[in-house]
């Protein structure tokens, strides 16, 4: 039995610059393991420890993902080994080609019980890759996963649904997109970082053709909402609180 975590080597949003017009520039941001993926790795580590099995990372992208830094960064987070598909054709790839390459990498790992992924990638944020990957593998896909526990060989998955939650039991292999707050990822220490350089990495050539992806022909920032500019007189705190609550209710916030 093996637990797999799909992760992305993406620009670090902490180093993004935002132009006055609201355009986000990630071109000079140093890459890192995509912001939400360490949560999936943490959940995967716990699951693998509960089952006493191996935790394998899979990552696909441009040639830069095969660099020692990218490998060590992921492996120091708690993965046992890594499978990467690094190919120029995957640089900036959209959800479908990415999922196709991931499916190839997952196919090379034996006895996969579950594939975990982060909520979304920090640069694209399409929320699509886990679902497309599940479709390609022919496995069920569950998103917004808040918790996963092992029940014998089965998975008990708690996921957000509307304003409530749902608990699902999964007996076969599945792809789970883990919510950003499902776990607090561990901080890698020097021992983990040094060990990461010694963990096995398999680099696979990209097999076959990738599906064509739609071309992005324009981008626009989310328009800023018009501010209400309503002022509440706080001379009487009780009245001010009532007025605030009423205003928030009227706007549908509460």
């Amino acid at each position: 039995m093996t637990v797999v975590v799909a992760h992305k080597w993406a620009p670090n949003p902490q180093e993004a610059t935002v132009a006055p017009g609201g355009t986000v520039d990630l071109s000079r941001a140093k890459p890192a393991v995509s912001e939400y993926d360490p949560v999936a790795i943490e959940v995967g580590r716990r699951l693998a420890d509960a089952w006493g099995c191996e935790l394998v990372g899979v990552s696909v992208g441009g040639p830069e993902i095969a660099a020692p830094m990218a490998r060590k960064a992921a492996l120091s987070r708690g993965l046992d080994r890594l499978v990467v598909v690094a190919d120029e054709r995957l640089s900036g790839a959209g959800a479908t080609p990415t999922a196709v390459a991931l499916a190839q990498a997952v196919g090379e790992v034996e006895d996969v019980r579950v594939v975990l992924a982060g909520d979304s990638s920090v640069d694209e944020g399409a929320h699509l890759v886990p679902s497309v990957l599940a479709g390609l593998l022919g496995w069920p896909s569950l998103a917004e996963v808040a918790d996963v526990t092992a029940d014998g060989g089965a998975l008990v998955v708690e996921r957000a649904q509307g304003s409530g939650s749902q608990v699902v039991r999964v007996d076969g292999p599945a792809v789970l997109a883990v919510a950003a707050d499902a776990a607090v990822p561990r901080v890698a220490g020097m021992k983990d970082i040094l060990a990461a350089g010694k963990k096995p990495v398999v680099e696979l050539p990209l097999a076959g053709e990738l599906p064509a992806q739609p071309e992005v022909v324009g981008r626009a920032p989310v328009p800023l909402a018009e501010r209400g500019r309503r002022r509440i007189d706080t001379t009487d705190p009780d009245a001010a609180a009532r007025e605030l609550v009423a205003a928030l209710r009227a706007d549908g916030v509460l």
Binding site: A32, P68, M69, K72, A73, S76, V184, R186, V187, A188, G189, M190, K191, D192, I193, L194, A196, G197
Partner: protein, 384 residues
């Protein structure tokens, strides 16, 4: 010359930043400072992630790393607003690792691994600040026991430490001859009868206690001897150079922290219809602050590199400590000037840094002692 960091160093600093983001927020630091509270949660987080034992030999549960890496970590903690004293156990416990017996080492390590100080360093005395050879605390042998008598001052962590590594003079050794050879290190449990601890009230460093410690007929055993009798002074001096460098690295981080706050503020604060950063007087400050920071970094990292390459750093570590202590204070003072009235309030962390930095020109060897150490050695090279 290669100034780049290794992958491992970059990853370690990334991890550290992640940890500090979670466990060392500005609000948390402010709270600890106002309440004069040791930042236990931060220290626990550092221990849990292995940072607390960085640089400690593997056989004692640590992860050995080079001096450059230790300095990078010390710098980063302070750069993110953390206090300097939460890191560097590897250096502070080096005396015990090197000279302690198995039992003493075990006791020391148990404390460090629990996030507590391994010991309080019983060195400075009221009459023996810069003149460390004037130490008057004595040890006397009587009826098969050893008795310590004296008064130690400016004892960091004395309220929290379980042990003192106490430097004492042989009460039987008279006269000036062999002064330094009369000093011996002793391992003194702080809960021994005769030990009295009285906290000092300071203007800064509120997160860590600094105390007077009175030792009155404190009875210990022969087994509490640390290292070689009569070699205490030299044993203690062996680690001072790298400890000074650690202080310099922390000061570099403190200066960077203040600089970052001031530079950000200069791009936001509007006066006379323009950001204050657009005024040349502010740009001059920013430029000179940055220059000092770069100089500090070069001194610290080059000295660390020399240590890692087995070179002598007697002059380098004194220069680094001297320059970083003075420049750190200057940079933080300029940062406060840029922040204006806000910088003088406790809401701005620059005010805490301003108070905490001043003592760095005094502790761990004053500016004047650093000049003395460096000056006489530099001139030796030119003596004809």
């Amino acid at each position: 010359m290669d100034f780049s960091l290794t992958d491992e160093q970059e990853l370690l600093l990334e991890s550290l930043r992640e940890l500090l983001e979670r466990s060392c927020s500005e609000e948390y630091m402010k709270e600890c400072n106002e309440q004069h509270r040791y930042p236990e949660e931060l220290v626990e987080a550092l221990i849990e992630s292995g940072f607390g034992m960085l640089g400690v030999p593997e056989e004692y549960g640590g992860t050995p790393v080079d001096t450059v890496t230790l300095m990078l970590v010390a710098e980063e903690i302070c750069k993110q607003g953390g206090p300097h004293f939460v890191f560097g156990q590897a250096l502070s416990i080096a005396d015990m690792v090197e000279f302690g017996n198995d039992e003493q080492r075990e006791q020391c390590m148990a404390e460090v691994m629990a996030g507590k100080p391994g010991f309080v360093l019983g060195f400075t005395e009221p009459q023996a600040g810069s003149d460390s050879s004037a130490i008057a605390t004595t040890f006397t042998r009587r009826d098969g026991k050893v008795y310590i008598n004296g008064h130690k001052t400016f004892m960091s962590n004395a309220l929290r430490a379980k042990y003192m590594l106490c430097l004492a003079r042989d009460a039987e050794a008279a006269g000036d001859a062999g002064k330094k050879a009369a000093f011996t290190m002793w391992w003194v449990p702080m809960d021994s009868p005769g030990v009295t601890v009285e906290p000092l009230s300071k203007i800064g460093w509120h997160m860590m206690d600094t105390c007077e410690v009175y030792l009155e007929n404190v009875e210990i055993e022969e087994k509490d001897l640390v290292g070689v009798e009569g070699a205490g002074f030299m044993q203690l001096m062996a680690n001072f150079e790298v400890e000074r460098l650690l202080m310099a690295a922390s000061m570099l981080g403190m200066a960077e922290c203040a600089f970052g706050d001031a530079a950000r503020y200069a791009t936001q604060r509007v006066q006379f219809g323009r950001t204050i950063g657009s005024f040349q007087l502010i740009q001059e400050k920013i430029t000179m602050m940055k220059l000092k920071i770069e100089n500090m970094r070069n001194l610290v990292m080059r000295t660390a590199w020399k240590i890692d390459n087995g070179e002598s750093v007697q002059v380098d570590s004194a220069l680094a400590k001297l320059y970083c202590a003075q420049s750190c204070n200057e940079v933080i003072d300029d940062a406060m000037q840029i922040l204006g009235g806000i910088g003088y309030t406790t809401d701005a962390r620059v005010s805490r840094l301003w108070l905490d930095a001043r003592v760095q020109r005094i502790g761990g060897g004053t500016d004047e002692v650093m000049i003395h150490i460096a000056g006489r050695t530099i001139l030796k090279d030119y003596a004809v």
